[in-house]
Amino acid sequence: MKMRNILAIFVLFCGAPSMRAGGNSSEKVEGDKVWSVACQQCHNRPNPASYSNAQWDVIMHHMRVRGNLTGMEARAVLEFIKDAK
């Protein structure tokens, strides 16, 4: 019973944001704002030219997990960084 409850919570947790994602898909996330606000909650912003585009792909994947960024936010920041270089 306990395991069932845990599984049910897990499914709800994983499913709810997906449904929410559909509703928010038209909302545009501005990469420069996320870059300016979210990154600086923990550390200084590095120079976009510090890494190559391929390296930024990897680093943003890492920061998406570590910094609790949504997929949309991570993609927007990545696009902003590559444009800013």
Partner: protein, 446 residues
Amino acid sequence: MFTINNRRCAASALIGTSLLLTSSMVMASPSDGPISRAEFEKMQREMSSLREELAALKKADALQKTPPSDSKVSQGGPARVKSSGADTRLETPAISALKTEIKAVREMVEETKAGETKFVLTGGASSVFSAPSHGTSKFDAAFSPILLWHINDRLLFEGEVEYELNDDGTNSTKTNLEYAQLSYLLNDYVTIGAGKFLSPMNIFVERYEPKWINKLPDTPLAIYDGILPESHVGAQVRGIIPLGSARVNIAAYVSNAPSTDSNGSLEFDNFKPAASNGKAVGGRVGFMPCQYLEIGYGLQQSNVRLDGDPSATDYNSLLQSVDLSTSFEKANGRFALQSQYAWSHVGSKADFGVNANRSGGYAQVSYRGKKWSMDFLNHLEGIIRVDRMTQPDPTAIDAFNEKRVTFGLDYWLTARTVLKTAYELDRQNNGHAGSNSILLGVATGF
């Protein structure tokens, strides 16, 4: 310009003219008198030789006009002539050198081009000099490379190994596996991971512990290397629930349970199966009413056992933590507030002879200049931190309560390289002399 091609054409014309002249001479010779058979045969041999030479030249010319079989740039050998209608060009040494250089660049790009997976080596390094008022001053150094392996757009491996100097008199180096986790992005909001990972319930280790991020040369009492775990071996799921302009960050995990010592103090090196057969369950909920503010609550519950106890008695343990952090720009700079308070409960007074309840935490305020006209000020950051650690019964377990206030001044050389200076006031009880310290450090992230 008289090119090689022109020369060959001229040679062909010359040979043709020679043949014509020779033929006409042969044809005209009867009018000058009869020729001997030997002379006639000699002339025939010469004509035959000239015809062969002419055929060879024509063949060579035809080959020269044939376009190359592919578009690749040919390398090496003598310079080649290319002909395209009236545009006849000679491949100069400069063009040959350029083609050689292009080939080298192509080869270099091919060698460095990532395949389907991508690696990045990042991390940090630091060095600290500490001079306590009671004790020996010393230098220390650490190096923490992080390997990020982007397997595909959903899969990521991240691992960090920290190399530190042992302070146990062995003059050796200590190696710690900080984390080694494989994570999978389930969708835009949810990530699952397994391996050894930084504790999701302890926001300090997840976000502020890296030496080039931590603004002071040392770490806060109780929160780091204290009563909260720094990492777990297990599995976790974490996600984000957007609520308009607000959001909720959630993380939950199951891991090997910690063990305990005879004072009810938890040992979080929880990868020793003999010491703990149980599992710990925990997580954190962080609420962000806006992008600049996060308030969090973390907990971990588990049954723990005495390290190496053959009776294998289980004691209940509960760890809890609250945190608040914010960062915003004001007054030509950026203010940041980080705070966290944690408390633990392990077993009962009957189990350990004391109520094994510990608590402690820190609050830190910092300001860094950003928009001052004097650029030097934009590299400075001032920090004040207050932290404390309270033991259950210091006299009974030969421990002490501790309070500190630390004043720091940093100079940022780059966005990720910082020189740190700090003066730390330290107060301890139970007969332990607090030791004020001067701390100097340098840290870089790469």
